[in-house]
Structure formats: C-alpha cells, structure tokens
C-alpha cells in the first residue's frame, strides 16, 4: 500500500522526496491544492472515502500519517 501511495504522491509533486520528508505541510512542500489532487487520486486508487473534514493539513504531513488515515478508513 505504501508503494502505491508513494507513486501517487510522486506523480502529484515529482520534486518532493516523500520517503524522507516528515513535515510536508509545515515545511511548505505540499500546497493545499496538491492536497485536493492527492485526495481524489487516493480515493480512486484505494477505494476509501475521505471527507472534507479529512482535508486537514496535519493529515498530510508525512507518508506515514497519510497511510494511517487511509488504513483507518479501510479497516
């Protein structure tokens, strides 16, 4: 699942090293508009339903945090 997520993220923002960055939002590496793009891809790829209330910056600070969000919706 992590590889698939990394592929989605890298396609949205090729210049960011998602494997090592842990403060994507705090460091300003991800824009709010990137989040929208990423969310729609995640929902299609993983078949999970994320809501507008999930679009909080803290849910997008690292691959692991985002992975936890996806897993909480697929459990």
């Amino acid at each position: 699942m992590k590889e698939k997520l990394l592929a989605i993220l890298s396609e949205a923002c090729p210049e960011v090293d998602f494997e090592t960055e842990t403060a994507l939002i705090d460091d300003g590496l991800l824009e709010s508009l990137d989040i929208v793009m990423i969310v729609t891809e995640i929902m299609q790829e993983f078949g999970v339903e994320l809501t507008v209330d999930d679009l909080l910056p803290e849910n997008f600070n690292s691959v692991d945090v985002l992975l936890a969000l996806i897993e909480s919706r697929t459990a």
């Binding site: 300003g28 929208v36 969310v39 729609t40 209330d53």
Partner: protein, 262 residues
C-alpha cells in the same frame, strides 16, 4: 439560483459527494473558515449539474470557489453581483484551461496574472534594514496598504486584523513603507509590501525585505507578485527568490460593465 448555506453538515455532504467523483477546484474547503462564513450569513451556494459554486459574499463583491467535476466545464452562468475568482495552477493551466475559457465566455476578464517566488531559508542572514521597526500604528498601515493595493485583488486585512497582526509582530514599517508577513512552522509568506509614492526609489523596499529576512531568513519564504511588476520581481530576485512554478489568474466579472454592453 444562489441560496444561502445555513448548515455546514449539509454543505459537507455535497462537498464529499463531489470529492468522491473527482473535482477540479480552485481553493481547499476549510471547515473552520466555512463555518465562520455560515455564522456571518455570507456563504452562498449554487448547485449545478457539473459541480458546485460557493460564494463568499462581501459588501461590494462576491468571491467564488468552484468544484467542477473532472472532465466537465462550467456551464453558461450569470453572476448576480460583481464577482472575483482566482485560478491557481502549477506550471501549466491544465484542467483549469477549459474552466478559465468558460469564465471568459461568461463575461469575466483577467485583471491580474500572478506568480509565486520562493526563497530557501538561510541561517545567519544580515541584510541592511535601516530604520525598520515593528509597526505600532495599524491605522497608518491600513491607509498605506489601501492606497497601494486593489480592493479586488489585494487580499487586504481589515484594520482590526492589522492591529492584531501588529501585536503579533507581523507588520514591519519605516516612514513611508510597510511589510506584512505570515509565518507558521518552517515557512513564511511575505503578504504585502508597500512603499508610498513619495518615498519610492530610495531603497525602502529593500530595507523592509532585508529586515523581514533577518527575522525569518531560516524559513522557506514565499511571495506572490504580479507578473508585470518587474521592479518587485527584481527586488525579490536580488534577495534570492526564484519563480517556483505556481501561478494564478485572477478573473473579475463586473456587473456594471456588463450592463453597459450593447
């Protein structure tokens, strides 16, 4: 027809339905901001088969957020009031292109093209900053910003907000000049830089930016500037800023000029 949004829960259902289908969107919906607008009674919506239009209503102007289903475009649509919409994009308009064309066909015109410049943080910066101090006179700051920026595209804070920003140390000033920034985590954004016409060509802008970077220089700094504002771009480039690929087109629909058309 526009209808007032009275419940965040109702609105979020509509937003979630659209999110599931995939949308092109010009601003991220933020619960806190939307609830604030709903409490003020200033948020309106228009459901269209292609998506949803959200309007934040201000005294003389409507500000538009759109969520358009992927692969579709905006239908012919007549705004009720003077309306502004911003279309941000990175590197290329992409999916926004068709939507922008639809806005232009509706009678919107582009009034501003902006680009974003970024500067990586550097430690121990020490630029000349002359007499730059923390601003304590929010009224004067408000006057200078209002004289310097368009009320439509300027994203100007109100005087009350400026007083708060001054308390937080986010306004820097010197006689004839003001700089406003926002800062969080490891990033900072230079929001407004204004120098009074009587004080231009004296290097005040450079002193203000220098003081700002002396304070915030270890953070990643960003600034949006008009594409055609070459003096500002040169100033920022002098401090190490470079275009980072983000751009935006600001489109405006004027009810008055529409009515004047034959």
């Amino acid at each position: 027809m526009l209808s007032p949004v009275t419940s965040y829960e109702e609105l979020s259902k509509a937003l979630n339905t659209l999110l599931l289908q995939g949308v092109v969107i010009n601003a991220l919906p933020n619960r806190e901001a939307l609830e604030q607008e709903i409490r003020r009674g200033s948020l309106y919506q228009q459901q269209i088969s292609e998506g949803l239009l959200l309007i934040r209503r201000r005294e003389t102007l409507d500000r538009l957020t759109f969520l358009i289903k992927k692969g579709q475009s905006l239908p012919l649509w007549e705004p009720e009031r003077n309306t502004v919409v911003e279309l941000p994009f990175r590197n290329a308009l992409g999916a926004m292109e068709e939507i922008e064309a639809a806005f232009l066909a509706t009678g919107f015109r582009e009034i501003l093209s902006r680009l974003r410049l970024s500067r990586k943080g550097t430690e121990d910066v020490s630029f000349p900053q002359g007499a730059v101090r923390l601003c304590e006179d929010a009224q004067a700051a408000c006057r200078l910003l209002c004289e310097s920026f368009s009320p439509i595209t300027g994203c100007l804070p109100e005087e009350g907000e400026l007083a708060e920003l001054a308390k937080q140390g986010k306004l820097l000033s010197l006689p004839g000049g003001i700089l406003h920034y926002e800062s969080s985590g490891k990033t900072t954004e230079l929001r407004h830089l204004a120098v009074a016409p009587t004080h231009r060509r004296q290097g005040l802008g450079a002193l203000l930016v220098g003081a700002y970077l002396n304070q915030q220089g270890e953070k990643l700094s960003r600034v949006w500037t008009a594409v055609e504002n070459l003096p500002a771009r040169r100033l920022y480039e002098h401090f190490g800023y470079a275009a980072d690929g983000w751009q935006s087109h600001v489109l405006y629909y004027s009810k008055e000029s529409k009515e004047e058309r034959p």
